[in-house]
Symmetry: C2
Subunit: 348 residues, 2 copies
C-alpha cells in the first residue's frame, strides 16, 4: 500500500465504498475483497426506474463528472438517481497501490471492461435493488463500459450514451495506448511496478502526459490557443504546469491497469468476435456521441459501430479540444451533451 | 566517428559528396568541413534552366526519392537535371556520428532549415553554376526546405511544391516532435548522446518508432489493414518487423539533429515573425500539397499558409497512409503527385 493523496476524499471525493467481496476475474485470478468507490446524486424513486449509471474514464475519478450533473441539467439530480462509479484500478476503487498482498502493485491482476460491468451490476442490483437503468452514460473508457452494459445486460439498460469511445477498441487506438504504457514502464524509476512512491516515476509520467498533449487534444486546439480555456497564459503552462503535474500526481500501476483494460475493450467477446452480432443484441435506445476532433476515437470509427446498433442515432459533438473535450472546459460542449442526453432521456 | 552501415553507399547510395568547406551556422558555431551528399539524375542543359532540387525529409536520405523520379514521370530525368540533396545531419551529409572533434556526437551544433538551404545554395550555384531552379520539391522536412528556398531566394526559384509540410511549424507539431525526441533521450543507453553504437539505444529508437506508428499513418490505415501495402501479413509485422527495425537502424544523434531543426522550421524568421510578409515574398508559382489524412501537417494548417502565398494553389493529395503516404506505397499517391507536378512544371 502506497500513500497517494490524489485519490483522497478531500481531493476527488466525496465517495462511498461498496464491498463487492471476493471477485473472480475474466482473465483468471481473484480480487479477494473488491470494493467499488461510488458517488450518488438525487433519490431513487419508489419504482426504482429513475437510475442513471455513469462509469469513469482513463485516469479519471467520479469527481470528473461533477460538471455533468446538476439541477436543470440533463443529468438532473432532482429527477434522477445518479450513480457515478469509479472503475476498478482507477486509484479510488480497488487498485494496485491501495491493495495488500497478494494483489499489491505489480502483482495486481489484469482487469477487463467486463469485470467492471459485472462488479457494477452487483452494486446496482444488490446495494440498490435496481433492475432497470434509465440510462448508462460515460466518456472514453466510460463509453466502453456503457457499451458493455448494453450488450451484456440488454434487458436492464433502457438507454445508453457512449461519449467519445468505441464498443470494440481499434488497432490504432491500441497502438496509441501502448505508447502511453511504454512511457511509464520505460522509466528506470518504475522498477517493474515496485516503486515506493509514484514520485519516483515522475519522468515516465511526464512523458506520458506529453503524449496526451499531442493526441488528447487537436491541432486546432493549439492553433487557436484554446489552452486559455484552462486558465493558463501559455502553451508551456498548459503542458508543463497543467498536464504534467496532473499525470505526475497519479499512480503509475493504476494507469497501467486501466490502459491494459482500455486496449482490450471489445463487446464482441460475447459473440465469438462477431461485432455486428454483439451490437445487434442491444435493445437500449443508443445515442453514439463521438467528438468531431477526437484523434483516437474518430467519428468514422464510432459511426461504423452506430450503424450496427438497431435503435441508435449518431450525435456528433463539436469540440476543438478533441478527446479532452470531455473535461468540459467549454460551455458549448455541455450544451451539446445536455441537448442530446435530454432528447435521449425523453425517448420511450 | 561511429560505424553505421545504414548510411553506406551500398544501402542508401549512390551519392556523391560536395565539399562546402567551413560553414557558419545560424545558431552560432561552425561546421569546420561541411560536406553535402547528393545524387543527380539527368543532364543540365546548356542554358542551365532545367534544374530541379529535391531536399530530404526527417530520417530519410536521397534514396527515398528514387520512386519519385524516372523517365515518363513528372520528375523525368530525360527532361530535367534533378539534384536530390541529403539534409545536414541526416546521417549521410555531415552528421554527428560521421564527424570528428570538435563536432562529433553530442557536441554536434544545432542546425536550422536556413543552414541547409544556404549550404544547398552553395552546391547549386558553385558546383553546377545554376542560377535558376525550375522547381524545388520535397516532402515533410523537404517541404520546410522548399519553403525556405522560395522565401530566401525568391529570384532563383521559379516553382515550388512543398508536400506534406509547413512554412512555419505549428505548436502541435512541435509537441509531437518532442515526444519523438524524448523517446530517444530517455533511454539510459543514449548516455547523453555518448553511446558507442546506435544499437545501445535500441529501446529508445523502438519507442520512437512506436510513436510514428500512431502519428505517421492514420486511423483508416489500420482499419483497412493497409499495412499489407508494405508486404507484411499482420499489424505486428508492420510495427515490430518493419517500423522498429527501420528506426533502430538509424543514428540517434542524427535523428535528434533533424528533429530539433524540424521543430523550428519557420520562414517568418526572415520578417521578424510576420508569416504573411515572409510568404508574400515568394515569387515562385507554388502548389501547396498536403496529404488529406496527415495527422500532424493537416490540410487546414497548410491551407492557411497557401492563402498567404501570392501565386499559389492548394492541391490536396488523398492517401489513407497519412504522412507516410510519402513513402509511396500506393500507386494512387504517385499518380496524384505526378499529375500536380506536371501541371506545375507546365505553368510559366
Amino acid at each position: 500500500m502506497i500513500e497517494n493523496e490524489f485519490y483522497s476524499q478531500q481531493n476527488v471525493g466525496p465517495y462511498e465504498y461498496y464491498q463487492v467481496g471476493e471477485f473472480e476475474l475474466e482473465e483468471g485470478g481473484v480480487i479477494p475483497q473488491l470494493q467499488l468507490a461510488y458517488r450518488t446524486y438525487g433519490t431513487l424513486n419508489e419504482q426504482k426506474t429513475n437510475a442513471i449509471l455513469v462509469p469513469t474514464w482513463f485516469s479519471g475519478t467520479s469527481k470528473n463528472y461533477e460538471s455533468y450533473i446538476g439541477p436543470g441539467r440533463a443529468l438532473d439530480e432532482n429527477e434522477y438517481f445518479i450513480i457515478v462509479v469509479n472503475q476498478i484500478g482507477n486509484g479510488v476503487s480497488t487498485s494496485p497501490h491501495n491493495s495488500g498482498s497478494p494483489i499489491a502493485m505489480e502483482a495486481f491482476p489484469h482487469i477487463r471492461i467486463g469485470d467492471d460491468v459485472r462488479a457494477q451490476y452487483v452494486l446496482v442490483t444488490e446495494k440498490f435493488g435496481i433492475t432497470e437503468l434509465a440510462l448508462v452514460v460515460g466518456g472514453s473508457m466510460g463509453a466502453q463500459q456503457t457499451y458493455e452494459w448494453a450488450v451484456r445486460y440488454p434487458d436492464m439498460v433502457k438507454r445508453a450514451a457512449p461519449i467519445a469511445g468505441t464498443a470494440k477498441n481499434t488497432v490504432h487506438d491500441f497502438l496509441f495506448t501502448q505508447t502511453l504504457i511504454d512511457a511509464i514502464t520505460s522509466d528506470p524509476g518504475f522498477k517493474g511496478g515496485r516503486y515506493t512512491s509514484h514520485t519516483e516515476v515522475a519522468d515516465g509520467l511526464g512523458r506520458h502526459a506529453d503524449i496526451w498533449a499531442v493526441m488528447g487534444l487537436s491541432t486546432e486546439f493549439y492553433q487557436q490557443e484554446l489552452w486559455r480555456l484552462f486558465g493558463v497564459e501559455s502553451v508551456e503552462q498548459f503542458t508543463q504546469g497543467f498536464l504534467r503535474p496532473l499525470f505526475q500526481s497519479l499512480d503509475p500501476n493504476s494507469l497501467l491497469t486501466m490502459a491494459w483494460k482500455w486496449q482490450r475493450g471489445d463487446v464482441s467477446r460475447h459473440t465469438d468476435g462477431d461485432l455486428a452480432a454483439a451490437l445487434n443484441r442491444i435493445t437500449a435506445k443508443v445515442f453514439v456521441m463521438p467528438i468531431d476532433e477526437d484523434m483516437f476515437f474518430p467519428v468514422r470509427d464510432c459511426a461504423r459501430e452506430q450503424a450496427l446498433i438497431p435503435n441508435s442515432e449518431l450525435k456528433v459533438i463539436e469540440s476543438r479540444l478533441g478527446h479532452f473535450g470531455l473535461f468540459g472546459a467549454e460551455d458549448s460542449y455541455f450544451e451539446q451533451v445536455d441537448c442530446y442526453l435530454r432528447e435521449l432521456l425523453a425517448s420511450p
